[in-house]
Symmetry: D2
Subunit: 397 residues, 4 copies
Amino acid sequence: MSLQNPVFIPGPTNMPEHLRRACDLPTIDHRSAGFPILLASARSGVQSIIKSRDAEVFIFPSTGTGGWETALANTLVPGDTVLAVRNGMFSHKWIKMCRDLGLNVVMTEVAWGEGFPADWAEEQLAADTAHEIKAVLVTHNETATGVTSNVADVRKALDAASHPALLLVDGVSSIACMEFRFDDWGVDVAVTGSQKGFMLPAGLGIVAFSRKAMKETEQGGLPRGYFNLQDMATATAAGGYPYTPSYGMLNGLNEACGMLLEEGLENVFARHNRIASGGRAAVRAWALEVCAARPELYSDTVTAIRVPEGFDANRIVSHAETAYGMSFGAGLGDVAGKVFRIGHLGSLTDAMTLSGIATVEMVMVDLGLDITFGSGVAAAQAAYQVGKTEKFLEAAE
Amino acid sequence: MSLQNPVFIPGPTNMPEHLRRACDLPTIDHRSAGFPILLASARSGVQSIIKSRDAEVFIFPSTGTGGWETALANTLVPGDTVLAVRNGMFSHKWIKMCRDLGLNVVMTEVAWGEGFPADWAEEQLAADTAHEIKAVLVTHNETATGVTSNVADVRKALDAASHPALLLVDGVSSIACMEFRFDDWGVDVAVTGSQKGFMLPAGLGIVAFSRKAMKETEQGGLPRGYFNLQDMATATAAGGYPYTPSYGMLNGLNEACGMLLEEGLENVFARHNRIASGGRAAVRAWALEVCAARPELYSDTVTAIRVPEGFDANRIVSHAETAYGMSFGAGLGDVAGKVFRIGHLGSLTDAMTLSGIATVEMVMVDLGLDITFGSGVAAAQAAYQVGKTEKFLEAAE
Amino acid sequence: MSLQNPVFIPGPTNMPEHLRRACDLPTIDHRSAGFPILLASARSGVQSIIKSRDAEVFIFPSTGTGGWETALANTLVPGDTVLAVRNGMFSHKWIKMCRDLGLNVVMTEVAWGEGFPADWAEEQLAADTAHEIKAVLVTHNETATGVTSNVADVRKALDAASHPALLLVDGVSSIACMEFRFDDWGVDVAVTGSQKGFMLPAGLGIVAFSRKAMKETEQGGLPRGYFNLQDMATATAAGGYPYTPSYGMLNGLNEACGMLLEEGLENVFARHNRIASGGRAAVRAWALEVCAARPELYSDTVTAIRVPEGFDANRIVSHAETAYGMSFGAGLGDVAGKVFRIGHLGSLTDAMTLSGIATVEMVMVDLGLDITFGSGVAAAQAAYQVGKTEKFLEAAE
Amino acid sequence: MSLQNPVFIPGPTNMPEHLRRACDLPTIDHRSAGFPILLASARSGVQSIIKSRDAEVFIFPSTGTGGWETALANTLVPGDTVLAVRNGMFSHKWIKMCRDLGLNVVMTEVAWGEGFPADWAEEQLAADTAHEIKAVLVTHNETATGVTSNVADVRKALDAASHPALLLVDGVSSIACMEFRFDDWGVDVAVTGSQKGFMLPAGLGIVAFSRKAMKETEQGGLPRGYFNLQDMATATAAGGYPYTPSYGMLNGLNEACGMLLEEGLENVFARHNRIASGGRAAVRAWALEVCAARPELYSDTVTAIRVPEGFDANRIVSHAETAYGMSFGAGLGDVAGKVFRIGHLGSLTDAMTLSGIATVEMVMVDLGLDITFGSGVAAAQAAYQVGKTEKFLEAAE
């Protein structure tokens, strides 16, 4: 591992200097006057980033996984039924958690590389006239396969079936990188973490609850302690925490929201799309295939790349680390050994991305794959080149 | 708030430069080769600090409160009975969590300022011939009152009653500051966090499980997801995590253990005792009283100081912050307004402590209390003065 | 040495978190677009702090000593005569430099503890009808003795004698801490460094030249390379440097100016005065004497304290370091062993200062001096106590 | 400017995390016990890096330019003659300094792209039977042209002429990157700075003096103050400084030496050579030419690249900064507008270098030069590829 090279794992992402410093504070009393102001600002920042006017945002010292539990434990009661789809390692794990917590899961399996089948969901919801299904779980961006599902379509399915189930969305590897419209999509709980689009270390589980979801937290819930949203909501309303918060991480989150909003969300999303496009162009130039089944499923935060049949994709990841000090993501679960992943989210420049693509080329050549040096780089350069953009033409005037 | 003054809250504590840096790492792939080595080292460091040969240590991205839940959710099943004592805000909260998680609590209330009554526990355990009581909960150091209970006595009570209940100990504000003998005291689960004796930011819930407690995790447990110890144990054994760890915080913990062990645990404990003694001497010089009922209950990490009848102790805390930019702890729960607290744990020098004592004197004089400038400082100086110690005499030779 | 205790040397001073970070930048191209903006801002900031409208400020990668050389080498030619006073180690060293550089020095010696005798200067200047004296050198604040001289009086002496000599002022340990009126006092060159009032590490020699002094740089000068002001002025005008600047240090200087101006210069000066007053009150309480001969000479940045006859003051400095991990200043030159010094400049709070005073008390008691614990602290507390100030009374309303 | 992209200016270089932290220390008393130890260690580290057993190393708060002055001002007297060659901007500036300081320069001009002509020097020295020439000045690596001269050949010329002149070598952009044999080459003064091979911010001028050169410092010298080596040597011998040192920068230098020696000097040099070779391969692939006239002059720290006749090379530098946030070096002096420069020294990985090469390709294509995307990258990848190296073959076994 080199501490100088960028990382290309799909989170934790590369961190801007500014955010590392925002997190690294001297000890400040979390009961002093500045804390409630910081907390309110961070919560409001997250709200803006998920494009919500009045979602209630809560921030737990944990991870996105803690956010999953918070979503479930505060809106459902033991034995409740949820609707879910397994299309990658992270959807798989959320389903496992549902079962561990005593929920009943109605699910379907789709190929890893496919997205959430909204039509299937619509059928299930329409058939559920007794409204047994209390929640629909969607993994917005399946980090294991580089597949982005269409949340708006799931909302349409719910509406088409006039079904009152809550819409719980895992946005861990999408929020703050890609369009996420909490209000417009009628999301009830969105879950994310600090270490992806927010460009921070791992350590925060971030959830946003709709009014409808907040109402559910008042009635029952699963047995819960640390992730008890009512305790958290009460403390938050008083500008505090039910236990000791990480002042630094909250400060980091607040600054991250500020950076993202200052860049402009649409610019942030466009940047992720441009960088991802370059990566996909490289994959095409290598005559390889991405794991995502169709262009509309392509993720702008992570690309899973299928290697030739019979070749162990993990060799790429380990050779890159050992020989070039660069980290990429391995395949997980059903696609272990079949894909490797390039994380291209968070704080990343075109130049940094090119160093990742160039390094992967050396790795693949080293390992005997039929790759031409510079081929993927050239394809990405064409995508990143400023010379053809209006920006350049203007500047040249 | 001044960022230059030390803090005197009972956690998060002042952080040494070295540990802030250990936490503030650039992004490192937690699946790269260095991580398992770091994790093993941090776990082993914690083991040494709690003086255990083979406790299994696990580190969650959460806080000590998450550690409480981990202790309960993995060793008990719904409806199990636990024995507990309420003698301050933190013991109170742990009891509340037990109830929220569906456990049955047999408890007693003692005055806030008293410790855990081992004789009462022994009676209860002896009477429980059916062994309904599955666990005894002890708050080693009640941070709200500055009271340290005697864990060894509780172990004796269990042994005297030949009772198989697990001994669960909250060591959040004692571990790494005061003597804690996991093995000798027969502790089954010890709980702590990163932001006290380990001198780190909040963000880690640290637990240590005895073999007996580990065995309990295999059979049932409460419904649990994030704090599922079996998932954590499996991942830990493979050198990884069930979700994304905070590499920086783990590195910080590892370095903290290294610092403490290099200083020498007995030296660390002696330093805490010396600093605390100075603080208590100041209290006597002010003709005030500490909250802890008797000398053997005095905490070496936090001192709660009773203010004169009719005076609101919170004014001291808020005036110190507003006028002098220094943070102290307020009274909580039953002693709110009746005490203020000086946290003197973690990374603190005699000189820093004197600045706290001198500042409190100015605060009290400002607020009209009958305090003589320099009186508490002089008492503490006499406790800190090197001139009377062997160290000085040796150096002078 | 403890890294946690404040330092009480008369520079480098304690550094605010914010400034440490401002200095610690990643590599930024000093020929990129941001550099000229930063440089202009830092120069303008220094101008404001010395209360000048149009002094030309230049910043050399060196120290205040380099600033001395810059002042001399660019305004004088070999064999020129300067007028100077020796009243401490730093005035002594500047005089030595004059001689090493081939200048003729007309000087007087006064007791270490005395200030610059403006009346003597006036006599010399009046007698110098041939205007052989080309420059008068004043050490505004003699760091070795804690003596502040009156620069305005020296200007009056020059004016009274209608003498055209340049007024060169060493403001290393005064600027940014005490009133310094470049324009009003008719200063021609002011010299300072980064590590005192600017609260930065050592590494910058900062000079400000009046128009008259700038004119002198055009004709001759001493042989000079690195400190050639014309090269520096040409490069500065183009937004650059004649060699590689320290981007981080310049950024630190710029931020330091921002901090000082935001606090308000009069507030900064008042803070230094208040903190210094507390220190002097402590000295009186100990029945010791300061080195400065009279109250109007008392320095607000450093206090040199005389120890009883026959006692070696260096023992205080070394025992403080060894036994308590705290740094104070030793006596230098003529007062070596006779005084120790408390630096109380830069970024310092009342609470930090009290820790220094309390520690010195322990040191002196350890070493057998007749000092009562808490006596100096109590005197300082009375000076620092907010309770008697308007600020407190207002807040209390 | 992006703070995330590496810089490709020929210094200051990219800084490893470890060294940034080493420089960014809290205030430590430079008169406390640790300082002499640190200073001795840093001096010894520099000695090892220049492969000298007993050169006296001194470290000034300044830059390499201050080192030039130190070399001249302490070994020569006014009117002395030095022999020098002008083959780029930095040799040009050193010559200018000689003249400004009152020295007589015997020089020759060679094409910018040529090295130091040892045969010409030998002729001059042989002809100088009166030994008027007191020093020969060699710019080991001319940063403006990417030309490395052969110092050993200059030593041979001196020896062939049996001439006693001192050999003064500017190693600013070579030392710690390329072979530098102080003892074997009979160097008398070597000059360098902190911001190149030592991977630190600018701010230190570092000089090494042979015994012979030390002897010269005792007799006369130019008028000098700040750079007076006798004052520095006296203070250094006592473990201190004649003025306030930058503790952090010295600590950084010490750690940098440690890092370099741990990597192994031969490995450091080989790394620089490998990275430089890749850059030169890219230049060939682009059908461009380097400024250095012949392969034996190629610099391993900086490559100056000639652009096609009629094209302004500065456009590359400014477009790279504006459009891609990446910094390269512009042409200076005689080659301004004719070359641009890639600095590839200090802390740099192959992957980082590839990002620079790929970015320059986009820049050149944007500006209409006839460059094929990926062509230079592919050439560099072939140079960097681990797959053909023994290291890979071993690892593969």
